[in-house]
Symmetry: C2
Subunit: 327 residues, 2 copies
């Protein structure tokens, strides 16, 4: 039985062995750059772990591991262009290092390459695997569109449940699909495939809400990002949306004003005021409770899967790893 660390290094090895540069170089060098930039490679690791959970052949899922991570990096490449983010994983993003057209076309090619990996070898349930992958790709695009729509809306124009649906599509479905695809390659039962998918959804939601929490409460030295960046960006994250649900009318008014684009308040004052309002209403406890609830549901799904308990261990280890990056 491979541990989560074994699986993570297996994924690293798969990527190291693969060649990403072909002709024309102008198209493939940005792809190689993106795929070699690092990143945790959680999705292919989840795929391998789910395959192991259901006793699949690890050699059969190497290409799928490449496919899911290539797709994920394609979405990051285009998202960074759309969001005008200059830095990703501590390095300049493709549209900054090259240009916009390179980001568009190399991204498109990465999407096509992801399919190439999935199609490298025929497999009995290929149709179901590819339907899952494609449905996920469409949902990720829809999630990104909702995220862009939210940017233009006022804080009290986005509900917490709309936000949860957005992060489900933008973040959680891809983690869930990686697990489902790993299980499908191992011919897991329909019930178990559903359970591992739902485990991924709750894990993804927990992960995203925690990411939101760390923006407000994280230690910059540990977390690597400046505290309060979501507040500066007026981002309708879990924090202000949850705050709006639990605070009184006067506080709500204040919060909406702080998140109003027309409000020309000094940025650092805005961060301080928002965090102090969060403190006032005890927001942190509520958000931590929401993360815990997602965790509990993830754990229940995992517990309900009929499999050798030791083969579930990598998932426990992964959850611990992911949620160690706290406070």
């Amino acid at each position: 039985m491979k541990t989560i660390k074994d699986l993570l290094s297996e994924v690293e090895h798969i990527f190291k062995e693969e060649q990403f540069v072909f002709e024309p170089k102008e198209l493939y060098e940005p792809i190689d750059y993106t795929l070699r930039l690092g990143g945790k490679k959680i999705r292919p690791t989840l795929l391998l772990a789910a395959n192991q959970l259901f006793d699949g052949d690890p050699d059969l899922v190497r290409d799928a591991a490449l496919g899911i991570e290539t797709f994920h990096n394609f979405t990051l490449l285009h998202d960074d262009l759309m969001d005008r983010s200059p830095i990703r994983r501590g390095q300049p993003t493709v549209y900054c290092k090259w240009n916009e057209n390179t980001a568009i076309l190399s991204g498109d090619t990465m999407f096509a390459l992801a399919w190439r990996y999935f199609l490298r070898k025929p497999t009995p349930n290929l149709h179901q695997i590819l339907q899952c992958f494609d449905q996920t790709a469409i949902e990720v695009c829809e999630g990104q569109q909702y995220d862009m729509n939210f940017e233009k809306k006022a804080l009290n124009d986005v509900s917490l449940s709309e936000y949860m649906e957005m992060i489900r599509q933008k973040t959680a479905v891809l983690l869930a699909a990686a697990l489902k695809i790993g299980a499908l390659y191992a011919n897991a039962s329909e019930e178990d495939v559903d359970k591992i998918y739902n485990f991924g959804i709750h894990l993804g939601l927990a992960f995203q809400i925690q990411d939101d929490l760390l923006d407000g409460y994280g230690d910059t030295a540990v977390f690597g990002k400046k505290t309060g960046q979501d507040i500066r960006d007026n981002k309708k994250s879990y924090l202000p949306l949850c705050a709006l649900k639990i605070c009184n009318q006067i506080q709500a008014q204040k919060l909406c004003t702080l998140f109003d684009y027309n409000n020309r308040i000094d940025e650092e004052e805005k961060v301080a005021c928002t965090l102090s309002l969060y403190e006032e209403i005890g927001l942190r406890r509520h958000v931590e409770e929401a993360i815990k609830q997602q965790f509990i549901q993830a754990q229940q799904e995992l517990d309900n899967i009929e499999a050798n308990p030791t083969s579930k261990k990598p998932f426990q280890e992964l959850m611990e790893m992911l949620f160690e990056r706290k406070k």
Copy 2:
């Protein structure tokens, strides 16, 4: 036996019946707009015609017809953004009517939707069909990159054979893949699949060279574009690249100067000088001969296919239709 007109209107019907608007509207309305803008829909028509040629079930290829045209329109959408083209089919392009981010994300979604159509129903040789589609998608991206690379090069830095390879990837492979996929759905023999694919390659090359020819010699009223636009844009099309091969050194020097970005010559004078040089060397005859040669090779591939001659008629009709838009 359906005529080419029957098949064209069948494709129109397939698109009319399909729904393209879902939630979020901001994502799907530009897709619906693009797919309803018209266009000749040659690729899905070729797909249906190839399927008919090999006695396939027409009901099985409806979704593939949607898939291939959706993919084609995705490439146009992103190409228009990269080329900053404001007009397509007489209407504003998506990036102009909406914005750049909408063009990126709606385009990405169209690529994923193309796969959804191909994956709607399982089919015995799905793996081969999807490999063909994906390989084609990658080649189209590579072709677009070469086209963008050529833009930055001097005229005498691009060879005619490099140009032919670029248009093979950018234009011809998708026509060829549409035919191949139609044949694969009909379980045609490997040899026949190769022949119909090669037919498509030559047809595509002939079509693109003719398109280049019309830019220099077309009747604006018939062709719909202003004569000499490729010359104004310094485009390394078949015309100047062929001219360079057949002219003498002094003429070559002159042509390279005309196509030099640093040359600040008046645009209309540039068009007139270039066309007069083309006249001087009898370029038109050479280009028409090149188109004819591609036509002959296309015809040979078609003739070599073992099938009922009457079922080849739609292809003859299509070739006549495509090449009627002359002079």
